[in-house]
Structure formats: C-alpha cells, structure tokens
Symmetry: C2
Subunit: 218 residues, 2 copies
DNA sequence: AATTGATTGAAACATTTGTTTGAAACGATC
DNA sequence: GATCGTTTCAAACAAATGTTTCAATCAATT
C-alpha cells in the first residue's frame, strides 16, 4: 500500500504508465505495453491496481504531486515586496511546467486529464491547484488597488496562468511559428521574466489609473 | 469529392465524428458509434474515407476551417488605430474559441489535435494559424516601440493568445476555482475586454518606458 | 423497362485488448 | 526445513473494434 519511492514493480508500473498515458492517451496505451516497459507481467496491473482505470488515476495524481514537490515556492516573509513575490510565483510555475526536459510528460499527463476530466481532475483541482490559486490571489490583492472586485482578481490570475500554460499546450504550434533556433533559447528564466514584466507593467498602469482617478475626483 | 454543406451521408459522418472525437478522443470513439449517430452504416466510413484515421484528419481540418470562417476579422483601413485593431483581433479570437455553446466541440477537437499532433497539425499550423499570427504581429509592431526585437514581438503575441486559450483548455479547473454564478457571466465581450485592457496597459507602459529612456539619453 | 454506377445494409473476419486463472517461484517466519 | 502469504508468470477468455465482403437498393440515363 505504501507507494514510496522504492524501485518496486508497483512504482515501475506507475512511472511507465504515466509516460505512456501522457504520450498516447489512455485508450491508445495498452496494458501489455505498460508492463513490458516496466519489466512486469501483464497480470501485474490487475494485481496491484484492480484495473486499468484505477492505474491511470493513481498515475495522474502521482504525476501532479511530483510536479508540485519538484519546485517549491520561495520562502517569503512579511517584508517581501509583492512584486518580488509575483516574480517568484511565475518563475516557480514555469519550473513546474517546463521542468527538466525528461519530466515534461508529467505536465502533459495532467493537461490531458484536464481536457478529459475523470475522477482525478476534481481531486487535483481541490487539493493541489486551489491552494496555489489562493496564494496568487493574495499576491495580486497587494498589487491591485483596493476595491478591486473579486472577478477582476480572478481574471488577472487567469491571465498570468494562461500566459505560462500556453508554452506547454501549444508547443507544436510554437515550433511551427518561430524559428527553431529561437525556440531553443526559450528557457524558464527568459519566459518567466517576460511574463512577469508584462504583467507588472499592466498592474502598475491599473494602479496608476486608479490613483489618478481618485485624485481627480477629490 | 465535393464536401459542400449538403446533408449528405459524408458530411453527416464528418460532423458526428468530429463531435465524438472531440469529446472522447480518437481511440475511445468507435466507428460504430459514429455511424449510428450519423444514421449511416458501419461500412460507410471505409467507403467514404478509406479508414478511421483519414476520417479523423478530415474532420479536424474541417473543424478548424469552420472555426476561422465562423468569425472573421473586422475590416480595417489605413486609418484604423492599432489599439482598435488589437481589440478587434482579441474579440474575434474569443468568438472563435468560445463561439456558440453548441460549437465548442470544434475548438476541443483542434486543441486535442495540438496536444496529439498528427498530420493534421502541421497543415493547420501552416495554412490557417500562421497567417493569423502574422496579422497579430503586424498590429503589435505598430504598438511597440521601434527597435523591439522579433523575439519580444513573438513572446508578446504568445501572451495574448495564451490568455485567450486558457479559458478553453482549463475550463474544468476554472469551474472548480470560481463560483458557478460568476463563471456563468464569463462571455466573449467581458473576457475580450479584460484581455485587451490588460495587454494594452502593458504595451503602453513599455512604450512610455522606451520613450522616457530615449529622452533621458539625449 | 433495362442498364449502369453509386450507395447502403447485414453479416462475418481477423486482431487487439482488458481481464482472469491457476500454478510456479519467492521470502520471510516459526 | 516446512509453512504461509505475497508476487510473478504463461496461457487462456471474452468482449470489442476496424475492416471487408457481397448482395440489395437506389437514381439517373438510355
């Protein structure tokens, strides 16, 4: 029952299954291929997980937990300026998405699940994503003028996350649109800096506009 | 051969197949289900398309072409200000993505193809997406200071598209994060206005910063 | 009305796939 | 070393699925 990181048949199957589900999808991946890649017998899937679907769910949840653990948010204290927090959040988010080149399959697996929600999706959203979303919102609350509606807060958070996620979900398209040499230079640091700068510029403008509006009215 | 919009068995199969591929994916969709939904015989798929895969490719290409035709960019003339062009581009993009509530399957199908590229992906990227990308870049060139690098132009374009696409690729997550009542109010107009405002605020700040920098240097 | 070509229909085929089974191998415990 | 629970293995099962076949049907043309 303990799914610790031992090199046991169980986790070998989980890892192989995750990679294959990520690349080919649930239906295109056969239990036989998974077991062959994991060096296990066909019956091992049913022995350890009951059936193929429960193996899938466990693989997805495991992949997302791994993604979160892989890159942790920086330690902030009460004096950390919110601009720095936002920069750190975005950088960490990119680390999780683009991570080591051998780990992108985990993000692919999770994104695939989001577009084909099963039981794993709601669980991940509630237990893993929501806390991160709350953190991002608390940062934005410090950066946006007081009185900003919850809705605008949400949309702004979505704008940030959307910019980051794009580089994963549209990767084949991006490769088709920009030069291969340029694409090769897209790394976490560069992309994070771009998104951070663009977002902060927009937030600054909103804050300035609000201040001007308040000043003009009085 | 002519795939015109007649209510022929061929296009009925294409439409049914598109919807089912979009919801369940390629492998999970059976030829039998497609034909039943289209009111056709099982053999019709092989008769009209040769095999299941060529039916899929044709359905994807058709869906994306339909998406483009559904919402056309406004007519601009030489005097149209670039800010208005950007607003129009973003609004049209959202129309295409979120379109009529009965047509979202087309976007789903295309996004699915992007994450599982087949032969259809490269074709769509080259013949359909690239022209749109060029238009967006030409608009941004008018809004960003002279001397802005191609790379920054690209990243800015990706930031815009990423913000829009997010509402489609992460829909189940968004539903989980915000109140159902609030989500119900997300429509094309509201989202387009948010993305446009945020982006223009950022672009204005960059332009102002560049002007200030140039002024200070002289 | 006959003919010709395109389309549809029901059934069958060959393969693949998830799952099960029951015996063998293994490992720790007494 | 015998025993008991756990794990592995090869083989088989049953269901589903893409594809094919060939006769029936239809529609237009002569």
């Amino acid at each position: 029952m303990a799914d610790n990181d031992l090199d046991t048949t169980r986790v070998r199957i989980l890892e192989s299954a995750g990679q294959m589900f990520a690349e080919r999808g649930f239906e295109s991946t056969t239990v036989r291929d998974i077991c062959q890649a994991a060096g296990a017998n066909v019956a091992a899937v049913n022995y350890y997980f009951g059936d193929k679907e429960r193996l899938y769910i466990e693989a997805v949840v495991r992949a997302h937990r791994w993604r979160l653990d892989q890159a942790q948010l920086p330690d902030w204290n009460a004096t950390t300026p919110p601009r720095e927090k936002l920069a750190g959040f975005i950088h960490t988010f990119f680390e999780r998405i683009l991570g080591g080149k051998d780990d992108t399959w985990r993000t692919r697996l999770v994104m695939r699940e989001f577009m084909n929600p099963t039981a794993a999706c709601a669980e991940i959203a509630q237990s893993n994503i929501r806390p991160q979303f709350e953190i991002l919102q608390s940062i934005l609350r410090e950066l946006l003028p007081q009185g900003t509606s919850d809705e605008e807060l949400h949309l702004t958070a979505f704008s940030i996350v959307g910019q980051c996620l794009f580089y994963h979900v549209a990767e084949p398209i991006i490769c088709n649109l920009v030069d291969g040499a340029e694409f090769a230079t897209y790394d976490v640091d560069k992309l994070a800096e771009h998104v951070t700068k663009l977002t902060l510029a927009a937030l600054d403008a909103k804050a300035a506009h609000a201040a001007r509006g308040a000043g003009a009215r009085r």
